[in-house]
């Protein structure tokens, strides 16, 4: 056919079948480009929304590398005449991007210190050998730790603890399937729930704080965020434990021998080393910096100070940081934040907000509830298919343009982006426990949908009954 060999045609067909979402993204964007802009939307806003559609399709489909999506967003912002090259460059780099970069680098530094063995010993001392107490300990410790140091750091440290317990209980995976599932989900859901607790729990919290400040809607300090979000975190811990226990009743109610073997294993690690103490000390300094200095220096710069200290004291090599830091994700979040800012500046965010409210007004009368529902529900759904930080980066400006109390809507959106309980790809913690090979994709839905619904109800109650007293 046309002088092509069968192999060439087969390769071409293969490319087309694998890149169908890329082809669809461009076809849809060309179609959208040539339809007239709605009257209430500026041409720049129209073109910004086209970029949003392309980016969402490419990110969800994962058909091209994430850095390529990031680069495409930046190119299109300039080519479509939405902003000047310097304007795009300025919106690309912000304190939120510094924070994401710093926290990913600190994760590598903290995980490599071997502190997980101390953590394991601490948990076991607290919980004893009863399975329900261990599950409670896993959820509580994962939540509280990840509220300060980021969810994937905690998940990476907790995973070996859980796997050691599972493998010491039985070599037969089928005999311990429910035990494996409940322990691993205790980590994943605990980390996700914890990430809402403080701004440093997740990059998306910092992105939202950045938007609220940049759009002149207010300033939220580290401690103020804790006042809003921590009660929800604490309430969710027993709920999640009960839900997990009811969904995956483990085969073993006592893990006597497994706990004993774990103790023997971690005791071999010996006394705490100087480097470990220094690593903890630096993190405490960073935490204090976030609490007291972030209004002046920014959360991102404080995180970078932490990285500087870890590197300067020789606690981590640059090669290790370079190898284990997801630079593609950093680029993508920078580009997504830039896109969010362009959505605000071109009026695209306001247009989407107005259209959403008009559309929903046929179903819901109460404007305040509608604004809250759209922001929380849409974020909750999107975060299960997209990264939670990317979700907030794209939806943040829309939510903040809906009217109502921007602080309540902004924090609600950020918290809802942590409801990543339903799919494997929802968050790095879900992916980390899946990489153990011990949980099935159907397990995510089994407990996830219940926690998702209860979390939305809890957020509704807290944002309506408790937050108004804080403002």
């Amino acid at each position: 056919m046309l002088g092509f060999s069968n192999q060439t045609i087969a390769d071409l067909l293969y490319w087309v079948t694998r890149k169908k979402w890329l082809i669809a993204a461009f076809a849809i964007s060309i179609f959208l480009f040539y339809i007239p802009s709605p009257e209430t939307l500026s041409p720049e806003g129209h073109r910004t929304l086209i970029i949003v559609v392309i980016a969402l399709i490419l990110i969800i489909g994962e058909v091209i590398p994430l850095p390529a999506v990031a680069i495409l967003i930046l190119i299109l912002e300039v080519v479509f005449g939405i902003d000047t090259p310097n304007g795009v460059a300025t919106s690309f780099m912000s304190d939120a991007v510094f924070f994401i970069m710093g926290s990913l680098m600190m994760a590598v530094a903290i995980v490599s210190q071997g502190l997980d063995k101390r953590l394991a010993l601490g948990i076991i001392k607290l919980t004893g050998n009863k399975t329900w107490r261990i599950v409670f300990g896993f959820v509580a410790i994962s939540s509280i730790l990840s509220s300060f140091i980021g969810e994937h750091t905690v998940a990476a440290m907790m995973l070996p603890v859980a796997l050691t317990l599972i493998r010491n209980t039985s070599d037969d995976q089928k005999a311990v399937h429910r035990l494996s599932t409940i322990l691993l989900f205790s980590i994943a859901y605990g980390c996700a729930m914890g990430s809402i607790g403080t701004p440093s729990g997740g990059g998306r919290n910092v992105i939202m704080i950045g938007y609220i400040s940049e759009f002149g809607l207010g300033n939220i300090s580290y401690l103020e965020w804790i006042k809003y979000a921590y009660p929800m975190l604490l309430l969710e811990i027993p709920i999640a434990v009960a839900l997990l226990w009811m969904t995956f009743k483990p085969e073993q109610r006592i893990l006597d021998s497994a706990v004993r073997k774990l103790k023997v294993k971690v005791t071999k690690a010996g006394e705490m080393t100087g480097n470990q103490m220094m690593a903890i000390g630096i993190f405490i300094l960073v935490f204090l910096g976030w609490v007291f200095l972030s209004p002046y220096l920014g959360l991102g710069i404080v995180a970078l100070i932490g990285v500087f200290l870890y590197l300067s004291f020789g606690l981590i090599e640059w090669q290790d940081i370079n190898r284990n830091t997801n630079w593609g994700v950093i680029l993508l979040f920078g580009a997504a934040i830039s896109l969010g800012i362009q959505m605000k500046e071109t009026g695209a965010a306001e247009w989407v907000a107005t259209q959403s409210i008009n559309g929903m007004s046929m179903v819901i009368d109460d404007l305040g509830f509608m604004q809250w529902f759209i922001s929380v529900f849409l974020t909750g759904i999107l975060t299960n298919f997209l990264s939670n930080a990317a979700t907030v980066a794209v939806l943040g400006p829309v939510v903040l343009d809906m009217g109502g109390n921007p602080i309540i809507l902004g924090i609600s959106t950020s918290i809802a982006s942590a409801f990543a309980y339903l799919t494997i790809v929802a968050s790095p913690t879900c992916m980390i426990i899946h990489s153990s090979g011990l949980v099935k994709s159907s397990d995510y839905l089994k407990a996830g949908w219940k926690l998702f619904v209860i979390s939305i109800i809890l957020l509704f109650l807290i944002s309506n009954l408790y937050w108004p007293y804080l403002s």
Partner: protein, 294 residues
Amino acid sequence: MKFLIAIGSKEYSGPTLELGMRVAKAFNAAVDIVYVGDKISAFSTSEVILAQENLENWELDRQGVDVLQWAFEYLVENKYIHSESDGGEFNTDKLVQTDDDRCEVHLEGRMTQEVGLILRNGDIIQQLRDEVKRSNIDVTIIGASKKRRMIHDLIQYIDSSIFVVKNYDRDRDYKLLLAVNDAPNTKKALKYGVRVAEAFELDVNAITISDSKEFRSDYRNASKWADKFLRRAGVDHSVNLVHGKFISLMNETAGDDHIIVMGNSTKSPLTKFFTGSKPLTVCEECNCPALIVK
């Protein structure tokens, strides 16, 4: 020659590994055994690698290593490899990371040439394609999948012969069913078929199926050539010219006690994409192992 055996789990991949190694032995081929783990989302790649590296500090293996260990034990038990230097134990330290999503260990073969154990992560078709290209694989051996698209993608996009191991039982007496026609791949299929038949001491049934009652001269000649080839190879065989629907006759003849060997279709990939092909339908519908020779 080089064979690639794709395994997925201890529970289901036993027949694939056993039949694959026996066939590889018949060809005196080098063998790579590959386990392809789940695809890791691009958002989480570094985080998952960080978690997996941390597992090594606890002397815990990442997903898939246990399956390679099981394959190693099978190879030792059946004397396919020399393992004296490692005391018969699978040493995970020898797994070398060659790419972000690939690590391997090479073992010295006894009854075959070198045997490689490979761990990969990602989309299975993409990973097998990469492995076939990287190592110049001649035959890819894989267990049957319930997904129709999977068999289609294997036959369409993997640039090697494909052996789909379906419903294989080592205690069953098998025969070899050779589909013969005038297609260019038939001669190669015959050669492969003879090697398999000799190694397994199987009787060969060479069948030529025509849609119409009148057999074209090309079909008759192909059948005669097959008869001559099998006779010269000294293989017990029968040659049959039958008319009827290809798929139903193949299905009926093969039952569950044949190993099917046939050449790949020479239709254009575009045509195969939209209308399918005989080898694809055979792999889907027949209830026995099938080798599609390219």
